[in-house]
């Protein structure tokens, strides 16, 4: 481990085992799918892959939602809609 550290350049470093453990434990808490699975058998690569996929799917969802929101905002432009939203948000 120490030799690996001393060889580190200023740019990208090699990933040490500790970092991999940290990565796996942290990201496992975030990802809804992996959380329920058995704990030992998840590799760092898979966790990273799942994380990237999850972020991409979240982006896509936001895009879809913006698409729908823009359509809805174009058609519905009444006071009642906004009033309902505001009321529900305040409560």
């Amino acid at each position: 481990m120490s030799s690996r550290r001393s060889r580190q350049s200023a740019s990208v470093s090699r990933i040490s085992d500790d970092q991999i453990i940290e990565l796996v434990s942290k990201l496992r808490q975030l990802l809804p799918e992996i959380r329920d699975r058995r704990s030992d058998k998840v590799s760092a690569s898979k966790v990273l892959q799942e994380t990237c996929n999850y972020i991409r799917s979240l982006h896509r969802e936001v895009d879809d939602l913006s698409e729908r929101l823009s359509q809805l905002l174009a058609t519905i432009d009444s006071d009642s809609a906004e009033a309902a939203i505001i009321r529900s948000l305040i409560m």
Binding site: L23, Q49, V62, R68, S70, I76, A84, I85
Partner: protein
């Protein structure tokens, strides 16, 4: 709130303008204290209150921008949503600062040129080093890079910072999705019969 201010003062050089001038990694990881702050921040994204604040800010911003704009409404909604989300982060995270900085068109494009040059140079240097395990290490590192590209402003941050930013970013994105889903459902309901699953049944009483 006061604890957030020292965080900002400690890292003036992580702002997008200064980031590129230093070759060294400027993102130190201050340690366990910062992680507690991080997890508190993440929990904040999951509260109902934060979602409501975001929703109302988003609606207000959308209403303002609809009056002025005309082109590509969906993309604009997306950008507004991201911007309001970044503002909600209150400048504590790198991804939020990157989103806001890119809106202003400041220097992010010139930064990308420098980054590309560095990355290819690293690849050339690294290949002769890795003889045996060609698949293990680079795979993880490759995916880390992909992750760094997905989270805004995090292409060249240190490992633990990237983890921190990713956690916060995912929590914020989830809140964004929840808030926009709720707003969409409310608007689609036409204002007469909004759904009562999330927000209780106070509305029609």
């Amino acid at each position: 709130m006061a604890s957030l201010i020292p965080n900002l003062e400690h890292s003036p050089d992580t702002s997008p303008e200064f980031k590129r001038k230093k070759r060294r990694k400027t993102d130190e990881t201050p340690g366990p204290f910062d992680r507690n702050q991080g997890s508190q921040r993440i929990k904040r994204w999951r509260t109902e209150r934060e979602q409501q604040i975001y929703s109302s800010k988003l609606i207000e911003a959308l209403r303002r921008s609809r009056r002025t704009s005309s082109s590509a409404p969906a993309k604009e909604v997306r950008e507004t949503a991201d911007r309001v989300l970044a503002v909600s982060a209150k400048g504590t995270t790198r991804w939020s600062r990157a989103i806001l900085a890119s809106r202003l068109g400041v220097g992010s494009k010139t930064m990308r040129k420098h980054k590309r040059a560095k990355v290819t140079a690293n690849r050339r240097l690294r290949k002769p080093e890795i003889n045996g395990e060609k698949r293990k290490l680079p795979a993880v590192e490759r995916k880390l890079k992909v992750l760094g590209r997905l989270v805004p402003g995090c292409r060249k941050v240190s490992f633990s910072n990237l983890l921190e930013e990713t956690s916060d970013y995912i929590a914020a994105l989830e809140m964004q999705v929840r808030a926009m889903t709720t707003i969409t459902a409310l608007l689609a309901g036409g204002g007469t019969q909004p759904p009562t699953d999330r927000l209780g049944s106070h509305i029609n009483s």
